[in-house]
């Protein structure tokens, strides 16, 4: 006869009663039941206890409905206090356990710190650039407008002036629409002449971005007309630096390019624009320039009217664009308008790179989690007894799991704290290596640990703690109490479940590492391919700097050309300088432009507009740059203003417009009005926009010959390219003094080696590569440690078995095979899963790759080889230990 309630009654009580009543009531019922069995026999006693239990459960159910509150009669405060007590107790206990095993704790905290630190650092960048509000009021309403040429694959391009004025006149979706252009203006007069970055804007620009002047006023509508445009808005920093924060500056006149400009206002300190201008001037085009539809050089921003959705604004602009295409087919055929949220326009391609990096650090964190989970499982072995005893004396599994999870979270929090230190350091390091291109990204100035980043780090730590803690806690507590206690000193860490989980975790680590390694491998291969690309000229020992002659002192082409001629003549005779030339657009400088191209007596068949990039150069430019001459001749000193007009084209132009023909002797014209120039030579292609960019048709024009109405502007802003035997530091003063000797009012900007410009052009790729490689390295290190740990544990666990085998005559090599089979199985599984995942995720990398397929077999092979080798190294020690097991010692162990 059992002293137990019938099973069904137990169940009924479990579900029908509040927890704190269950035990005493069950006890009461049992007491009565036992007495009844003796008195009335089991059957009747059973029926009675059933009825009684049902009545009691029913009463409690009723009571709950009547009182309308949950069953447990313990008051809420008491319950809550109890919960906090438990948490506090768990935390204290957790900290004590971690301090007792400093080796384990240090390793786990470091692994987590790397994961959390890297995540925090990358999150801070992604958050600043992609997610934090732009520094403009109502930033959601600001859009960037552009001209798109879908047939040429161009999503957003600069806008022609005539198109802009039509858009502004005809659209109704915007409260403000403004065009802007970046120019350089020389600040003269007081003190050293200085070249300033100037944003030339149409009135309405400040309304569009929602910022008003701190002092004075905004530009008025009539200040975009020539003659009234000599007004300027200073930025706060320039006002402070150059004018001593003079409160009475408004109304004063400053000299810009030798013209007097009236200061009408000062911008507030919070004014920010990607190009970091020093001042704003009105964009005042003359009557001719306003009618240009083929010259695209303006950027446009607008602010949506409230109540007009983004789609509506886009729709209206599409209609306007279509009408302009129909009205001006010669210039605007195949053009559409593009409307993008301002952030998308500012961030551009960087978004993909940032998200890829964020994904990559996420994988690193997962690897760290898996790693710590294996450590926790191993540690659970040593705590097997403790857990078994606690459960034997009635500790609820849920309670023990909760306690183990608290320990994991304590561990993760410690990891998070150290991770934050790592993050502070990494962000500082990142800030220093960020390529110059990044300085134009929003939020990059405020990069750092702010509340959002801290909260994110905290949440990541918490989730991490739960993620790596939950599986080990469940496995460790899933045991038959008796079996563990009976098993003697030999723990089995949750038995088969634990072993399986460990292997799974290591397989996962291997797979994650492989994905990261493949990513790093693909970027490395791309980078190699890229740096292998010849720029088309010899960049070493070449320096360049930009000059901008003011139109006030150089009103016509001849005078500007004379300045450059004199300057180049003086430079060439200086010691150390081998060659000196000038060009309107040196490669990797960002200066460019393109104009319609015509060939005399021939219509060029082309689905897309026939355009070429003009380059105004001094005669020996090609020799200075070491650009090879393919055909015909280069320019010489006889190609003057009075001589017949000539031009040189590059090979891309030949390929596009003279396929299978000889262009020499043909006459071409670039831009408007038509002015024929004879093609006298063909030179090699130069990578103008970057090593990864396509080469485009280029037309070189000797700087003394005026080729278009725009040429006047082109020649005033030329870059010097100087080849010398010495370094920049010694060459720069020579260039500066030479310029000053020709015109002491002419400032010289930054003088930079061409190698630097090329390095800068690949810097974002280099950064992606660097970061992804670091992440992959961390993941591989963690994985190797995890694999080593698991194998060492498995060998230790099978010591007795191995001992028996060896006592029965197994050779060391057969034992080695046994262990290797296990390690090899895991490694192979991990790598296969990793390769498959890498193949799936690879496509997100496509836009970051250069001439490498996301499924490049060579990269996959090399990377697998690397990880395989690392895995082999990680298991060498455990394997050799297995072969050296002494049968006697192993068998004598308890």
């Amino acid at each position: 006869m059992s002293e137990r309630l019938p099973r069904g009654v137990e169940t009924l009580l479990r579900f029908g009663l509040p927890s704190d009543q269950r035990e005493p009531i069950a006890g009461d019922l049992l007491e009565e039941y036992v007495a009844r069995v003796r008195r009335d026999g089991e059957l009747r006693a059973r029926a009675a206890v059933w009825a009684e239990a049902a009545r009691i459960a029913w009463r409690f159910r009723l009571e709950k409905t009547v009182r309308g509150r949950p069953l447990p009669p313990i008051s809420d405060e008491v319950r809550r206090a109890g919960m906090w007590d438990r948490v506090r107790q768990d935390v204290t206990f957790g900290v004590r356990m971690l301090r007792r095993q400093p080796g384990f704790t240090v390793v786990a905290v470091l692994a987590l710190a790397m994961g959390i630190g890297a995540n925090t650092a990358i999150f801070s960048v992604v958050d600043a650039v992609l997610w934090r509000a732009l520094p403009f009021p109502g930033a959601d309403e600001i859009v960037a407008l552009g001209e798109a040429r879908p047939r040429e694959g161009r999503v957003k391009g600069p806008v022609a002036p005539a198109d802009f004025y039509d858009w502004r006149r005809d659209s109704t979706s915007f409260t403000a629409m403004a065009a802007y252009d970046e120019v350089a203006i020389n600040l003269t007069g007081a003190g050293e002449p200085e070249r300033l970055r100037v944003l030339s804007v149409t009135p309405g620009f400040l309304s569009a971005i929602g910022i008003g002047p701190a002092l004075g006023r905004d530009f008025t509508a009539d200040e975009e007309t020539q003659g009234r445009h000599r007004v300027v808005l200073l930025t706060e920093s320039l006002w402070r630096r150059r004018f001593g924060a003079d409160g009475a500056i408004v109304g004063r006149t400053v000299a810009l390019d030798n013209h007097g400009y009236e200061v009408v206002g000062v911008l507030p300190e919070r004014f920010w624009w990607p190009t970091r201008p020093d001042m704003l001037v009105p964009l005042a085009l003359d009557e001719h320039d306003r009618t240009l539809r083929a010259a695209h050089f303006l950027d446009v921003v607008g602010r949506r009217r409230s109540g007009v959705s983004f789609e509506q604004a886009r729709g209206e602009m599409a209609v306007i664009g279509a009408r302009l295409s129909a009205d001006f087919p010669a210039e605007n055929a195949n053009h559409t308008t593009s409307v993008l949220p301002l952030r998308d326009a500012l961030v551009g391609d960087t978004r993909t790179a940032l998200l890829v990096l964020l994904g990559a650090v996420g994988l690193v964190l997962l690897t760290a989690c898996a790693n710590v989970a294996t450590l926790l499982l191993a540690r659970a072995t040593t705590r097997q007894k403790e857990l078994a005893i606690r459960m034997a004396v009635g500790g609820a599994r849920g309670r023990i799991v909760q306690q183990m999870l608290t320990e994991s979270v304590v561990l993760a929090t410690a990891g998070g704290a150290v991770g934050l230190l790592l993050a502070v350091w990494s962000i500082e390091a990142l800030r220093r290596i960020l390529p110059a291109q990044f300085s134009a990204l929003p939020g990059i100035d405020q990069l750092g640990l702010d509340a959002r980043v801290l909260i994110a780090a905290f949440i990541v730590s918490l989730i991490t703690g739960l993620a790596f803690g939950v599986a080990p806690a469940l496995v460790a507590t899933d045991q038959r109490v008796g079996s563990t206690l009976n098993e003697g000193a030999r723990g089995t860490s949750g038995g088969a479940g634990g072993r399986r989980l460990r292997s799974t975790l290591v397989v996962a680590e291997l797979a994650l590492s492989l994905v990261l390694l493949v990513g790093a491998g693909l970027l490395t291969a791309s980078f190699w391919k890229l740096t292998d690309v010849s720029p088309g000229f010899r960049p070493d020992q070449l320096v360049t700097t930009r000059l901008a002659l003011p139109s006030a002192r150089y009103p016509d082409h001849a005078r500007a050309a004379a300045f450059y001629q004199t300057l180049l003549d003086r430079l060439r005779i200086l010691p150390g300088i081998e060659r000196a030339s000038a060009t309107s657009a040196p490669p990797f400088s960002g200066f460019d432009g393109r104009l319609n191209l015509e060939v005399e007596d021939r219509e060029i068949e082309s689905p897309i507009p026939v355009r070429a990039h003009p380059r105004v150069v001094s005669p020996d430019y090609f020799q200075t740059m070491s650009i090879p001459l393919v055909r015909g001749r280069v320019f010489n000193d006889r190609d003057t203003a009075d001589a017949p007009q000539v031009a040189i084209i590059n090979q891309s132009a030949v390929k596009r417009f003279w396929p299978g023909r000889n262009p020499l002797g043909e006459r071409i014209s670039v831009g408007t009005p038509t002015r024929w120039m004879e093609v006298v030579g063909v030179v090699g292609d130069v990578k103008h926009d970057g090593l990864d960019a396509e080469t485009t048709p280029e037309v070189y024009i000797p700087f003394k010959q005026e080729f278009t109405a725009l040429g006047n502007g082109l020649i005033r802003g030329l870059s010097l390219v100087v080849r010398s035997g010495s370094d920049v530091a010694s060459i720069a003063p020579l260039i500066r003094s030479a310029v000053a000797s020709v015109d002491d009012q002419q400032p010289v900007g930054l003088i930079r080696p061409m190698d630097d410009l090329i390095a800068q052009s690949v810097a974002p790729r280099r950064l992606n590569l660097l970061l992804l490689s670091v992440f992959a390295l961390v993941a591989v290190t963690l994985t190797a440690a995890g694999l080593y740990g698991v194998m060492a544990y498995l060998v230790a666990q099978r010591t007795r078995e191995i001992g028996v085998r060896m006592a029965l005559g197994a050779t060391p090599s057969s034992v080695l095979r046994l262990v290797l089979r296990q390690a090899g199985g895991m490694t192979l599984a991990g790598m296969l899963i990793g390769l498959a995942s890498a193949y799936v995720f690879g496509r997100y990398l496509t836009s970051l790759l250069f001439q490498v397929s996301a499924a490049d077999p060579a990269v996959y092979a090399v990377v697998s080889l690397i990880l395989g080798t690392v895995a082999l190294l990680a298991i060498v020690i455990p394997c050799s230990r297995a072969t050296r097991v002494d049968p006697l010692t192993a068998l004598r162990e308890p």
Binding site: A26, G27, I56, F60, E63
Partner: protein, 108 residues
């Protein structure tokens, strides 16, 4: 007027039974004591609910005794009165006695 909330009739019965049982007041004993004194065989469910309710109201204090083998290792919940219960019982008695006074003749 007294601020002590009045007790329900069954609540009085249960509290008095506990008081009578002294150190031995647990649900089964309370039920038996009520049966013995009043002849009323109340359901166990009502006893549990009332005990629970009185404890929530702050009239009772309970403690779990050590588990005993005959109860399958389950603890017994013993109840004792808090001072508030004694006050409430006194008040109920005062009210009833006051109401009864002078009625003996009519109800004899």
């Amino acid at each position: 007027m007294s601020e002590i909330p009045t007790l329900g009739e069954f609540e009085q019965v249960v509290l008095l039974a506990i008081l009578r049982l002294g150190d031995d007041a647990y649900a089964v004993a309370v039920q038996n004591e009520i049966l013995r004194c009043t002849g009323r065989d109340v359901s166990r469910g009502s006893i549990y609910i009332t005990l629970d309710r009185l404890e929530t109201k702050g009239y009772l204090r309970s403690r779990l005794a050590d588990p005993t083998p005959e109860r399958g290792g389950r603890a017994k919940r013993y109840y004792t009165l808090r001072p508030a219960a004694v006050e409430a019982l006194k008040e109920s008695r005062r009210a009833l006695v006051a109401l009864w006074r002078g009625l003996e003749a009519k109800l004899a």
